[in-house]
Amino acid sequence: MNTQPKLSEQEIVSLLIQQDEKGFNYLYDNYAAAIYGIVTKVVFEKEYADEIIQDVFVKIWRNISQFDPEKGRLYTWMINLARNTAIDYVRSKGFQNQQKNQSIPEFVSESEQYSVKVEIDHIGLKNILANLKPEWGELIELAYFQGYTQQEIAERLDIPIGTIKTRTRNALIELKRLLKDHR
């Protein structure tokens, strides 16, 4: 996403609301890669990611009127829409059997496998999460990309539910620091 956005989020939103194709083009050119990155982190498989990203853009197009700027930026809204769409996809029947069998401790190696794969597909993946302390990377993976609840995470990781929030906070603080360092 190296293209410098020339339109403000508000301008993008108004183009989308007017169902202007320019709005779609701008959105796609500027955000498709970020959305695709998010989706592939949830589903791992390129063919699923290709399917999901189509859904995501259709949903953005259709539901732009539900976007509430008071709750965050358009970018955040789209990221969450993409994440949730992909998580729902993973949870839908058929797909579940293939992916749910992954045991959590293997997630790092799964990611590494994946990063090898995407490199073959000529896609650069830095995988910042791998630079985090494992317990933090694991938490972001489970919460943010797999959509588990606090209860489910507590059970899976065998930690008290009370420590999840503070661990989430620490994970995000560390992620922020890492992103700054690697700027």
């Binding site: 796609y28 498709a32 990155g37 189509q54 259709r62 539900q66 994440r83 998580i87 609840t149 989430t168």
Partner: protein, 271 residues
């Protein structure tokens, strides 16, 4: 609420990561509206995740763009406006910015209604309680006023009775040279030798002092006792005395003394 503590609990991070519970989300949505610190903390956390997404971006296959546009155009033709009203996007609400389904919306309204009722009820209670306190205070004031006027009436009546009793002699005690404006009255009944005293205009005594009434009998002062200024009775019965030529009041130590301190004489009057 302690904002720092609230922030450091990790609630905001849980919120932006989609981990917060329904309840936590509604509280936070409420708090952020009125608290710029919280609002900023949420935006900061969201920006971290935005930057993360930017950093981990992967270019999708180029063919997808036109495929998606075709899809969107087709949808627009098939279902023009109705789609906008009830989008099929409503999936599992993992994140607060996702639309809430009807049940949750209803629940939310119930919660809001309940909160309003609670606030209204608390407000009413406070109001009623306040009113009751006010009424109680007014009652107490009225009772106090009543008591005071009863007392004033009793005192006035006893003075009036004394003054109108033909057997009773009214002897005004007037201020001496040093205290010209001061005044007291002695009521003296010759037949029974009864003596009553009322203070008309004498300064309030210090705690450790009292006014003492003297009768001058054959040129010598005889103590008729001290005037009890703590009493509500303004006309007080003093020690009986026969054939007094004059009465005088001195300021003495509490409880009175055997012989008067002449320089502390305030008022006197001849029979």
């Amino acid at each position: 609420m302690d904002i720092k503590e609230y922030i450091s609990s990790g609630i905001i991070e849980a919120y932006v990561m989609g981990l917060a519970s329904e309840e936590e989300i509604s509280i936070l949505d409420c708090v952020r509206k009125n608290n710029p610190v919280i609002q900023q903390a949420i935006i900061d956390a969201q920006e971290t995740l935005e930057e993360f997404a930017t950093r981990e971006a992967i270019a999708p296959p180029p063919a997808l763009k036109s495929a998606i546009w075709t899809k969107i155009s087709n949808e627009n033709q098939e279902q023009p406006i109705v789609e906008n009203k009830r989008p099929e996007t409503v999936t599992t609400p993992l994140y607060p910015t996702q639309s809430i389904d009807n049940n949750k919306a209803t629940l939310k309204w119930f919660a809001i209604a309940a909160s309003i009722l609670l606030v209204a009820s608390v407000g009413l209670n406070l109001y009623l309680n306040n009113n009751r306190n006010k009424t109680e205070n007014q009652l107490a004031t009225l009772a106090e006023n009543q008591k005071n006027s009863d007392l004033a009436y009793q005192n006035l009546k006893s003075k009036w009775d004394m003054a109108n009793n033909p057997a009773m002699k009214t002897i005004p005690l007037l201020g001496v040279e040093k205290h010209p404006d001061m005044k007291a009255t002695v009521y003296f009944e010759n037949a029974s030798n009864l003596v009553y005293l009322t203070l008309e205009n004498l300064p309030v005594t210090p705690k450790d002092q009292q006014y003492q009434l003297w009768a001058i009998v054959d040129g010598k002062p005889v103590s008729l006792g001290v005037y009890d200024q703590d009493s509500t009775l303004s006309v007080q019965k003093m020690t009986a005395v026969s054939s007094a030529q004059a009465f005088a009041i001195t300021l003495e130590k509490r409880g009175g003394v055997a012989s008067p301190t002449m320089e502390n004489m305030y008022v006197m009057g001849k029979v």
